[in-house]
Subunit: 208 residues, 2 copies
């Protein structure tokens, strides 16, 4: 298809598509003369991915480029795929975690997969909370870890093993980007429900 | 204290503090003449709150202003406090949820606290995931809701009932901002751990 048809199919303007091409977010189409190129399903899929990462994931253009590069050159080893997915989705601008926090996490028995992006991200998040004076107890942290293990049960589905490295990496990245907001929203709904139960049990606000 | 001492105590530059004053994020100090004002512990606390909202919560200046306004005028009713906290932390630029998704959530039996910000946020997040073609089953959604109810158990602590409306509102806002990243990071760590167990059980990468 021509770039105008790609624009129509994706809902993204031609100017923006050309920007994606210039920035290396979208791979070039098949050249058909000096001024025309043909685009196909792979370009459709790529534009949709980029929109998801920007609109839902709120990733910067530089971070989107990292994702695209990783997807174009996925690591061979399956155990590296998830680390790559976690790395491209890391928190922006988070300061390095304190040694005290890192040691504390190890002492708690939380899995520390040898300096994985995931454990680094956890140490950073905890350091930030601690620095701001938020009282997060070990009991709460381990309870939350048990809860998030239940969430991850659906993330690490058996069918991942059968996917190609590129597909599995894309699945891990897109899955986290699209469902992190669902998980957080569920937290808010649960807070609302528990708050009504504990502080306002006679309220007519609750339907269930 | 003078503004220079406030800057030193908070690690925020005088220029930035003056910007916060102009933007209404920081309340004025006590005037002590034409060019001097005195600041106190309330200003210290406010600057730290603003930095947390910006640095960790990545809130926009406009959204920080909403938080500050809400904290300066907290709602009287306790059941409104959490709704206010959820509202100021809503997703930026999310499109309105589809009616189909809203109806579907109601049919699943998820609490719908009469158009609360929380249930709206959930419907929006699900609409976005659906629109991007992510296959999230009802079973997974309800399993995740159970998990997040466990997380929220620590959020809706009994001591909230004894706090003043302003303190309870601040607790709800800051708690979510500081610990959303912890919850998401725990999800990543759990994914890493489950992935190793299911796809790479002989790996030496795991310490526990």
């Amino acid at each position: 298809m021509r770039i105008s048809e790609l624009a129509e199919a994706t809902g993204v303007s031609i100017a923006t598509l050309k920007y994606y091409l210039r920035e290396g977010l979208l791979h070039a189409g098949e050249a058909r003369g000096a001024t025309r190129a043909d685009y196909d399903a792979s370009h459709l899929e790529r534009v949709r991915l980029v929109r998801t990462l920007i609109d839902v994931g709120r990733l910067s253009i530089d971070r989107v480029r990292e994702v695209v590069t990783a997807l174009d050159h996925p690591p061979e080893g399956r155990h590296q795929l998830l680390g790559t997915a976690h790395d491209v989705l890391r928190q922006t601008g988070a300061p390095p975690p304190s040694e005290a926090v890192t040691a504390h996490l190890a002492a708690l028995g939380l899995p520390d997969c040898v300096d994985s992006p995931a454990s680094t991200q956890l140490a950073q998040a905890l350091s930030a909370a601690e620095e701001a004076g938020w009282p997060l107890t070990d009991a709460t942290l381990m309870s939350w870890y048990a809860a998030m293990t239940r969430v991850a049960d659906a993330d690490v589905a058996p069918e991942l093993a059968a996917m190609s490295p590129g597909d599995a990496l894309r699945h891990a990245i897109v899955g986290n980007v699209l469902t992190d907001p669902v998980v957080i929203a569920l937290r808010r709904v649960a807070q609302e429900s528990l708050s009504a139960q504990r502080f306002d049990p006679t309220s007519e606000r609750l339907r269930s």
